[in-house]
Symmetry: C2
Subunit: 421 residues, 2 copies
Amino acid sequence: MTDGTRPPPAAGNGLLDRRLFLTGGAAALAGLGIAQARAAEAPRQPWARVPGAPMSGYGSRSRFEEHVQRVGIGAQPGTSGSGASRTPLEHLEGTITPNGLGFERHHSGVPDIDPERHELLIHGRVRRPLRFSMAALARYPLVTRTYFLECSGNSGVLATAPEPPDRGCGELHGLISASEYTGIPLAALLDEAGPLKDAAWVVAEGDDAARMSRSVPLVKALDDAMLVLYQNGERLRPEHGYPLRLLLPGYEGNMSVKWLRRLDITAQPAMSRDETSKYSDLQADGSALLFTFPMAVKSVITSPSPGLDLHGPGLYQISGLAWSGHGAIRSVQVSADGGRSWAAAQLDSPGSALGLTRFRAAWRWNGAPTRLLSRATDHSGATQPDRADWLARHGGSAFYHYNAIQAWGIDADGRARNVYA
Amino acid sequence: MTDGTRPPPAAGNGLLDRRLFLTGGAAALAGLGIAQARAAEAPRQPWARVPGAPMSGYGSRSRFEEHVQRVGIGAQPGTSGSGASRTPLEHLEGTITPNGLGFERHHSGVPDIDPERHELLIHGRVRRPLRFSMAALARYPLVTRTYFLECSGNSGVLATAPEPPDRGCGELHGLISASEYTGIPLAALLDEAGPLKDAAWVVAEGDDAARMSRSVPLVKALDDAMLVLYQNGERLRPEHGYPLRLLLPGYEGNMSVKWLRRLDITAQPAMSRDETSKYSDLQADGSALLFTFPMAVKSVITSPSPGLDLHGPGLYQISGLAWSGHGAIRSVQVSADGGRSWAAAQLDSPGSALGLTRFRAAWRWNGAPTRLLSRATDHSGATQPDRADWLARHGGSAFYHYNAIQAWGIDADGRARNVYA
């Protein structure tokens, strides 16, 4: 404390030391000035005057929380299921996405698969083609890991829209979720099938009507790829691939093929519809990045953000998420003066290397309009570019794999809105 | 490998090295003998011939998984909400319990609380009594941690029933769940209220019709206690304390008072109904343990277990959960010969110190009847007693805090059932 009551600044415009909320206690929090010293008990509420509801077989949310829904739901013209829904990041906290709010991206809707009739085929350039019922897969060993999953199109509108869209955090960045996954290491099944010498790719195909398929490098499939059966403790949900999905930690989401029915081991990538018509990135110099597998380092402040506005000057906790497909988050910096100065955020119980990391920072807002930014750096040393740098590198027609710094403008009335940094 | 194909034993009756499934590959898994070499593709299933279901605002489970429900639901006579429901541990995997399946223990049902009208009062032996609306609490700093929560009555029937009850894993041991919690460190609010010199206890009271209340040592309240707002990313569910619950990591579940409305700072424990008529443990020597706060070290094999039977001799993965209120799990040992020999299980990505730890072991079953056991040891060095030792120490009328070793009998036909070790 510089003067015994005021915590020291960590960067310009009110950013405070990241340990403030851990150590500051009363002196620091006195700045909140929101507790009311009224010792009388509240009158007994109606809900406490009657016996409550009974136990239930499978619980559901409070009726007061039903407004929290996936956002940005949209389907392609003429379809109801070819499209996406987004995780409402601004309504969530921590690092796990509840299954009911995990983002969706479907190429022909969600199939209604009977697990008793579903099979997985492994064939192609292998010594022993194999076919598994779900009951047969149940005999294989499981591992449990926490990973994020991000659609490569996440945040892409920020690359293409000339003016910053007036949308919320989830609408802009909600094609990302994170879960605890339990499944079979794919290497176990591939070892059993025995890839031939020229095997180099695994073409994964889903059992939706679109037969969505992607080519996966065999080295990734033999490394940390999983065949997922459980998500956050329970069986996969239908919209996330029930009863079986591929999961490629850190890679762009569509490669983690849902409703997995077939792994075709090949010498070359399939050049499937879904990896040529989509998910290829035309660059500024006219070349195209055919394959961009790991998602780039990225972060976003979830609070404050549009809809979670500030209520007068004073002390606030900035909270956000950071992730990278290249490995663990090493640090996150935040700026409260539009990027002129930066302070290190607190990483709150950093999880697995390829999960989401929650970051937090203490900020005393003086009531003047400003811009809040976050910038993550991963263990490879990669850090987020600003929007102009990203556009200069990737060109005006690029859309996928957008990972530039997000800025939220704060107006004098405390309203937060999307701006370009 | 001892002979090039057979993995070495780790303990009697087929327990194999814990790294088998991580490193064994084809040679080890060949023992499964279940993959079918039929390379032909399965016929196109009906669900893949039609467009699937659209995106949804808040997802739900597959209709093929609706049989997975909380188990052992029971209420006291004349009530519908004074009772418990249990987590179906045998149907889950990993370490996170989905919110819909987290166990319940209510003393007068689940109140339907409107968060706009709910308040928290902190008063008693403090300098500044404080009263908070939920909106006021939203300004305070948050932390995210993963913890288990176990009812002190969990597994108690195994202490009192002379013959082993013919029940499943969740029915016997399902008064435990684990979640990622996000909330306010209680110390921040207590610091602001300013406990007086003689303050030593915090009496926490819920806003259910029972006004369930418990006394918490102030040292615990100032250490790692949280006021929880979010569970597994979303707001608390009603049955878990919406909109606000106390959480005391590692302590018996009922002290983590749900629907929290009041914290009364006192010099002495309140000796409330809920800490004298219940949750006191009469011992063999006639004395009573009035307060038993941290839950003891414990483990249970979730697979195989009753209902998850074995299908013929061969290789299996044993999977289970371990936890301790005294700190992280240091090791789990498993026995496949009724306790004569033990092998170290693999701890699968051990989580936070006071969360659940998933353990796994490789076992080649020879088809003969036997007993499977697990025994956890925590970082304090404490380990699980067997049932006879537990009863000798705690006496025939003890019920709470049962943590003896669980044994599953395996019959010649592969059926698993509850037995006393």
